[in-house]
Symmetry: C2
Subunit: 173 residues, 2 copies
Amino acid sequence: MKRTYSVILTFLIILLSFISIGIVVAQKSEVSQAPNGIKLPAGYKNWRLISSTHRTDNNTLRVILGNDIAVQAARSGYTIPWPDGSFIAKLVWKDVTHEQWPDATIPGTFVHAEFMIKDAKKYSVTGGWGFARWLGMEQKPYGKDAGFVQECYSCHVPMKHNDYVFTHPAITP
Amino acid sequence: MKRTYSVILTFLIILLSFISIGIVVAQKSEVSQAPNGIKLPAGYKNWRLISSTHRTDNNTLRVILGNDIAVQAARSGYTIPWPDGSFIAKLVWKDVTHEQWPDATIPGTFVHAEFMIKDAKKYSVTGGWGFARWLGMEQKPYGKDAGFVQECYSCHVPMKHNDYVFTHPAITP
């Protein structure tokens, strides 16, 4: 009898382990990778601040965050070029008017999160940067195929003098 | 002779220790505390993102960061009221036009960093919030005396329904 219980218990533990692994895998694969193979960088919402912008052509507010390498580069002024391993994230929201401050716009609907990943060798064809973007709250990868990066790159070419980056790190004390 | 050297060496070590301590103290006390006794929160530039705003009445871009307690509250939606221990920082820059994107404004001169510190008991007279602001790159404390908080508080009263906070945490996936 004791042996039967032991076998059942072992079976249950193995079953639960598989279920747990399944849940973890399902959660991890929730967001699809970009058509060029770039995966959504984990924990990007916890990255530190680099800058912020407001655009009136499409009425959006943007915050630019960076991983540790990018933030260190931004703070020390070594961004022409940004060092390999720099990850820059731009979080974009449609702007809305603040209910108590008519002259203030605040983030409304989340539009997308877009990334520039520096690897001078790997991404030499597009200025040393890997581009990727995930749309909306569902984080749908942008682009029909890997060719979408040409659209990103061509828009960034006028910023070649700034290592293809529109962002100027905000100055702080 | 050996003894004399030993005494001189000991004296020099003690002297250097005092000089080092002096330098550390001088660096730490570089930024004066606010007239109400609030000290500039250390490492606030490394806090995580809560939101961003743009104001056209004074042409400023603002990024709102929070300490761990505030960010956790913001992400889980428990901000009415914000929990004790929440620190909210607002970093403010004069906006300037991007050199390659005329419809985009980006952070220019740093204006100030201002803080709201939640302690329902300690700051019960001002809605449970301690207010402080440091001006410019030199981080000069704002306010002639401790009474300056009345100015902050009275401006925040219209946001009583939102625990006296203008910021609405930006929605992210």
